[in-house]
Amino acid sequence: MAQTTLATSSRNAVVEISTDGSTWTDISGYAQSVSPGDGTRLTGTAHTFDGNGPIIVAGKLDAQESTVAITYTEDTNGAYDRAKNAFDSANSTLYLRVAPNGSTSGNFRFTSTKGVVTQFPAFHELDASSGDVQMVEFTVQHGGWTKAAIP
């Protein structure tokens, strides 16, 4: 198979969050990185007296944890404000949506199932000797991603 010419970097990615899975907020101007999670399937094994190797069966898809790193800012309705509000809500519900190559028609967009924000540090580790941008990384546990085309 010839070397592909279609490979891309993640520089054009679009990252969005939603508290209802319907109305989305583009946080690409705040987000630095997204880790999708492992995406594993539960399995079970059993050895029997006959045969050498185990019997392996497939279970359900496992829950996965996605992490999103955003800049810490103090503007109302910025990414930090919205994600923190989601975390502070009674059920900490948050959906994630990512378009790795941007939101152009024909590209793919991955949407998480309904997730729960399981970790949200209130602020970045403060260090007077650092000149780094203050970043906050939060974690969303969800049931997986659905790949869909952008119309």
Partner: protein
Amino acid sequence: MLYIVLKPISPAEGPIIEPAVATADNPAPEPVLLDAAFFSGETDEERAANIQRLIEQGVIAPVDEAAPAAPVAPDVANPDPPAVPRRVAQPEPQE
């Protein structure tokens, strides 16, 4: 012009639009149709190009509006459909 949804589509707002999938309980579901105005494009030419790209990717297919819509064939790429029929996601109530 209407287009039948063959693969999931992610609109800018709202839940993912899933194609109709035949199941044991519903072997001939109504196909999911979208109007041309649904697709993005600031001009008619741009919209037509985007629609054509999605047709080439197998995401949608044009429907002959003069003919009755054909029942959705079983998904040959996934002969073992999920036990629960897939539905278009519904928005969660605001908390």
